[in-house]
């Protein structure tokens, strides 16, 4: 009897230990991936069925809540600006010289024809806040040791019910993420590559988003320059900056 009790206690402790680990790992990832603010220059390559197109942009962001992007090329999209401010999103289009608020169901539309939706872009809740996480096992991914974690939604208003995420055991950055439907169907896969050390932290500079249900090679997001913890003037995160 005593032996059995010890096994049960040990088992409960191990569950608790794993849960604690998963949470700690996600906290470390959040700390690594987030910064006070950042300025990113990037190119987004949208691989269609027949051709690909590239958009370049510059983004200023503060935490996950504030972000301002300006598209620099191609000519057709140059000058398009996006402002994300605490759950709200506005787009300025130079061709119409108008600011449009993207809200409600429009957030579910694709961003500039990519595999990303505005909603994907708007998600600013920490993984620990919306998912219950557990470490399934450790496994090798592209030559790196990773924790394979299973995330299951603990809130209702979330787009993806569950996720699998591969976290680099050494650098604590995600290397791959799979997003699943309620039924368990794989919907999207995100690969994070070309990890570099920038300003003392490891950071992936190439992210490939792929809608797993449709043909095509997904959308590639390449960071060409990134600066952390800079001085960003407050007016950048205002609607007035959209028309400037």
């Amino acid at each position: 009897m005593k032996k059995h009790s010890l096994i049960i206690i040990a088992f409960l402790f191990s569950i608790h230990g794993f849960a604690q680990d998963a949470k700690t790992i996600l906290d470390k990832v959040d700390r690594n991936m987030s910064s006070k603010n950042r300025i990113v220059e990037s190119s987004m390559i949208i691989h269609g069925k027949r051709s690909s197109r590239t958009l370049t942009s510059k983004t200023w962001s503060e935490g996950f809540e504030k972000s301002f992007s300006e598209y620099l090329s191609p000519a057709a999209d140059k000058g398009t600006k996006m402002l994300k401010l605490e759950g709200q999103l506005w787009i300025y289009s130079p061709s119409t010289d108008r600011i449009i608020q993207i809200s409600g169901h429009l957030l579910r539309q694709s961003v500039m024809g990519s595999d990303l939706s505005y909603e994907d872009m708007m998600e600013d809740r920490k993984l620990n806040d919306v998912y219950n996480a557990k470490v399934i096992r450790e496994e090798k991914l592209n030559g790196r040791n990773t924790f394979l974690m299973q995330l299951t939604a603990k809130v209702e208003n979330i787009a993806y019910y569950s996720q699998k995420i591969w976290i680099d055991t050494e650098r604590f950055i995600p290397l791959q993420q799979e997003l699943y439907a309620k039924s368990g169907q794989l919907l999207k896969r995100t690969e994070l590559k070309d990890v570099k050390q920038i300003q003392g932290r490891w950071f992936p500079t190439t992210i490939v988003y792929k809608d797993m249900l449709k043909q095509g090679n997904g959308t590639e997001f390449k960071i060409t320059a990134i600066l952390f913890d800079q001085k960003i003037p407050e007016y950048i995160f205002s609607k007035a900056a959209l028309k400037q």
Binding site: G104, N157, Y160, Q185, D211
Partner: protein, 389 residues
């Protein structure tokens, strides 16, 4: 009576000239009747098909539902009230739940409307009875157009992705259980039908619906929380399209009528010019100018009577023949998004026939009258001498 006798004799006496005018006018008459008949036939067919397949005898909409805004579907659903439930049990209403979804046939992305329909409903012609549970698989019914555009056939599986009531993605394969053929593209293009209860479970919208379709036997009783839309409202787009078509066709047949009327006008001008002595003689014999004008006007308008007779002689057999076989519509007509069958059977209403006859007779009378006004300015003595005035 004298005027009609003279008119008849003069018209017959003019020979080929009269028959040319009459032929052209009769052709215009037949074309107008035929074209209007075709549009009316299409209208009747399209309306009855749309009512049978899509609208029923009106619909009760969730107040937030907007058929032109698919984004409204996310919020436009509510529980079927007990009042409505009673009517559903009496087969007076059939509920339908609609949600936006994405189908992935062969890895292609296709935006679709996922419609939950009661397999036992009898109100709409959609063959929902085939939506029986299939060993844990989700049975789906699609139209022929959808099957063609998505390259799907009966027995195929296709992956569908949708969002539940909380916006969470879900995806499952559905089995194409049957493919139906309908003249109404709006019930077919990008529409996927699955059992109502299955969609309610999939979306977490248990016992909810977006709209309720009314049976022909149900009069609008008003259901609390649901907005009634009658067939006039539901067929507004179709009616507007037919009216636009009728407007466009008017240009065509007025052009044709103008050619025929121009010929009558010319004939009248020529008659008055060449028959000045005759006009002078009528006046000298005691006819007033008004009586002479009437004589010539009747003569001109009699063209229209002859045209109606001639048009009927060849038009009626022709139209009976067409009505027997119908007018085949090109396959591309289907792509226009309006209810149109493979063959249109024209419909000639009494009102349309009378209005067309009046249009031809009145317009022929008007163009016949105008040239005769010169008669009132003629001097009888000069007319008798045949002097050109």
């Amino acid at each position: 009576m004298l005027a009609f006798k003279f008119a008849y004799k003069n018209l017959i006496g003019a020979g080929l000239r009269t028959w040319l005018n009459v032929s052209v006018l009769s052709f215009a008459f037949v074309v107008i009747v035929f074209y209007n008949g075709m549009l009316d036939g299409w209208n009747r067919q399209g309306r009855s098909d749309t009512v049978a397949w899509e609208t029923g005898n009106g619909q009760y909409w969730h107040p937030l539902y907007d058929r032109y805004d698919p984004f409204s579907l996310q919020d436009a659903h509510a529980a079927i009230t007990s009042e409505a439930e009673k009517l559903v049990k009496e087969n007076q209403l059939t509920p339908m739940l609609i949600t936006q979804a994405t189908a992935y046939p062969q890895g292609r992305m296709l935006n679709v409307m996922l419609r939950g329909i009661d397999p036992n409903q009898k109100i709409l012609l959609i063959p929902s009875a085939s939506l029986n549970p299939q060993n844990g698989e989700i049975p789906a019914l699609i139209g022929k157009r959808m099957a063609e555009s998505a390259h799907l056939k009966k027995g195929d599986h296709v992956l569908i992705r949708w969002r539940d009531i909380n916006g969470t993605f879900d995806a499952r394969e559905v089995l194409i259980i049957d493919i139906f053929k309908s003249n109404v593209p709006t019930v077919d293009v990008n529409q996927v039908y699955i059992p109502l209860t299955t969609l309610q479970e999939m979306t977490g919208m248990k016992k909810e619906a977006t709209l309720l379709v009314a049976a022909a036997t149900l009069n609008n009783t008003g259901i609390k929380g649901w907005a009634f839309k009658d067939t006039k409202f539901l067929l507004k787009d179709f009616d507007e399209m037919i009216n636009a078509k009728k407007g466009g066709s008017r240009i065509l047949y007025l052009l044709l009528l103008s050619i025929a009327l121009l010929a009558i006008f010319d004939t009248q001008v020529l008659s008055i010019f060449r028959r000045q002595k005759e006009i002078g003689t009528y006046i000298a014999l005691g006819m007033t100018r008004a009586q002479v004008i009437r004589l010539f006007t009747v003569e001109g308008s009699a063209h229209s009577i002859l045209a109606l007779i001639l048009g009927s002689l060849y038009g009626i057999p022709l139209m009976l023949f067409i009505n027997n076989y119908g007018i085949p519509m090109p396959k591309s007509a289907d792509q226009a998004g309006v209810a149109i069958s493979e063959k249109i059977i024209p419909f000639y209403s009494f009102g349309m026939l009378v209005s067309t006859i009046l249009l031809v007779v009145i317009s022929a009378t008007i163009v016949s009258y105008f040239p005769t006004r010169r008669i009132s300015k003629m001097k009888p003595t000069d007319a008798l001498k045949g002097k050109i005035q």
